[in-house]
């Protein structure tokens, strides 16, 4: 009991008091302690990611093993997890041909580079001109040639290097470092992000528009006075926020006594006054709640975060 409840409570109380003091006393030693504490937090947050990954595997793995409802989705989640892990830590791609010197046959090299870098499959004079401008004076370290491929393996990069070297240019193999590959071009990690994560994530969010429309149709009904206020202000905000609202009520701007009925004006007023007042009240409530809960944790009254009863 002592090690499970009392010691953690003492640690939490001590850290809580130190962090509180560091906020009001930014000088040594409290100011420095705060720097260390935030770095500890970063390290713990990184471990939390590992814990999260293990938890995902445990939960989804159990579903697959026990063939629970929706297990194929869990299997997809596990496979996606390992695929991303593989491309993050083991296979990176990100090789590139590094142009050191154009050689004597410059025009043929430009045409070849235009073919290799063009994305639409049609190499025009304009494309070749662009390449000519980009690669006329490669820097001493060499100019990376960004190929049109999503991922460049060592083999693919070497093939391009051989083709360009055959034309008289001097091209060497370049490689993105481990770590830098997660944000570099033509790597597997980037390919996973743009090929899978981006469309899936965008699709999920885009579906909201359909469900909002359907839910508004069914549930947004004038049943009482409060619902009426909500509905009217909702409609005014929805129309007033977009240019269409301004367009539909533009005529009110020409008549002084009607100018207040300009939808963007009404929407702005609703945002700035009733809405800001309500939001502020909620925030003050939340703030007081946080202070109360924090004090309870620091003083050892609140122990539910340690688990158990």
């Amino acid at each position: 009991m002592f090690w499970k409840r009392t010691v953690p409570a003492i640690i939490v109380a001590a850290v809580g008091v130190i962090m509180l003091l560091s906020w009001f006393i930014p000088h040594a030693p409290f100011g420095e302690l705060e720097i260390h504490a935030t770095q500890w937090y970063d390290i713990i947050a990184s471990f939390a990611m590992l814990l999260g990954a293990l938890n995902l595997l445990k939960l989804q793995g159990t579903k697959v093993v026990k063939r629970q409802k929706g297990w194929p989705f869990s299997l997809a989640a596990i496979l996606a997890f390992f695929m991303t892990l593989l491309f993050g830590f083991m296979i990176k791609g990100g090789y590139y041909p590094n142009l050191v010197d154009l050689g004597h046959n410059e025009e043929a090299v430009f045409v070849k580079i235009a073919e290799l870098t063009d994305t639409d499959g049609k190499v025009t004079e304009v494309d070749i001109d662009e390449v000519r401008i980009l690669y006329t004076s490669p820097s001493a370290e060499g100019e990376p040639i960004l190929l049109h491929k999503a991922v460049v393996s060592k083999k693919a990069a070497n093939k391009v290097i051989d083709e360009l070297n055959a034309l008289g240019a001097k091209v060497e193999l370049g490689e993105l470092k481990w770590g830098a590959h997660v944000q570099g071009n033509q790597t597997y990690y980037r390919w996973v992000f743009y090929t899978f994560f981006t469309p899936l994530s965008a699709t999920m969010f885009a579906l909201l528009a359909f469900f909002v429309a359907s839910a508004s149709y069914r549930a947004f009904k004038i049943r009482n006075a409060e619902a009426t206020v909500l509905l009217v202000s909702g409609i005014l905000i929805m129309l007033g926020r977009v240019p269409l609202g301004a367009f539909l009520t533009a005529w009110t701007q020409d008549i002084p006594w009607l100018s207040w009925f300009h939808l963007p004006t009404i929407q702005e007023w609703l945002y700035q006054y009733p809405n800001a007042a309500g939001a502020r009240a909620i925030m003050i409530g939340i703030g007081l709640g946080i202070v109360g809960t924090s004090l309870r944790v620091i003083l050892g009254i609140e122990k539910s975060f340690m688990g158990g009863d």
Partner: protein
């Protein structure tokens, strides 16, 4: 009359697939045939624009990317507009990310604006410090030391070797903080842990749904305006174009040559037509739903 009443009653149990189809069509139509709707600027966007516009040329601005692909249509156009505004004034930009996918968004925006449009030099005119886990602890951390939290940038270069970072030790050394945020951690955390304690002005670009939470900070002066959702992004794009067109305030010569690009490549203006029509469609659905509701209730009372 009886037929109309029956039709209105039936509307209440309209198949939701029909609603989905109509919404799909009304969103698709303005994307295929762009609507040229007039853009009126609002106070919130004007405040954010003016706060950035008043920064001197040598100002260094910290831009934090806290959004991913799901909110990209709303936030990315404002990221592009805001970066165009900053670089057109010759400001230096330090980018960091509190969301892992923010790194990709930041790279995309910098590649387009800093590299392709302005042809700026990495490390001298701008830098991308990348992503660090830790949420608000990172914000709190950089108020004491950048190097302790970002020893290397996103390319793996030590920040001691990056010229732009030489005179930036903490967040206090930047002149302005701009958070492009779609949730937590985001704009509120920047105000609480960096803007207020260090007295560095903060502004933000957010999804429309976040504006409610952020307005109290704007009203109290803790935030210098907000770019709110796609309408805000459209307004900001317009203000940047108008500024260069009218040649007002600080504008570099190179930025003036980019005006045709800024006028034509405006994603927010392209998408706002679809959002306008979708809003109108939802309002019509709500009105129809209520008419149907009342007709049905009236008929039920008869019996």
């Amino acid at each position: 009359m009886a037929k109309i009443t029956k039709f209105l009653e039936k509307l209440d149990s309209l198949d939701r697939r029909i609603i989905f189809l109509i919404i799909g069509l009304v969103v698709l139509f303005p994307l295929l045939v762009p609507l040229d709707l007039p853009i009126e600027t609002t106070q919130l966007t004007e405040d954010a624009f003016n706060a950035i516009d008043q920064l001197p040329q040598e100002a260094k601005v910290l831009v934090s990317f806290e959004y991913g692909p799901s909110t990209k249509p709303e936030l990315h156009p404002m990221a592009i507009g805001m970066l165009r505004h900053l670089f057109s004034k010759g400001n230096k930009v330090i980018v960091m990310c509190l969301w892992p996918d923010g790194l990709f968004m930041a790279n995309e925006a910098l590649e387009q604006v800093a590299h392709r449009e302005f042809g700026l030099q990495y490390g001298v005119d701008y830098v991308n410090l990348g992503y660090r886990p830790g949420n608000e602890a990172i914000i709190k951390g950089i108020t004491k030391s950048f190097e302790a939290n970002f020893s290397i940038d996103s390319k793996g270069i030590s920040i001691t070797k990056i010229p732009i970072m030489h005179d930036i030790q903490t967040a206090k050394d930047v002149d302005f903080i701009f958070s492009l945020s779609a949730g937590y951690p985001g704009a509120i955390e920047w105000v609480l842990y960096a803007g207020d304690p260090l007295k560095v002005p903060v502004s933000s670009g957010n999804t429309s749904i976040q504006v409610n939470q952020l307005l109290p900070y704007v009203k109290s002066g803790q935030m210098k305006g907000i770019i709110a959702g796609m309408p805000g992004a459209t307004e900001y794009e317009t203000m940047v174009v108008e500024k260069i067109k009218n040649n007002t305030g600080l504008i570099t010569e190179h930025a003036k040559t980019l005006l045709p690009v800024f006028e034509t490549e405006r994603n927010a203006k392209k998408f706002i037509g679809a959002q306008s029509i979708a809003h109108l469609a939802i309002v019509i659905f709500i009105i129809l739903g209520n008419i149907s509701f009342f007709v049905k209730r009236k008929n039920q009372r008869k019996y």
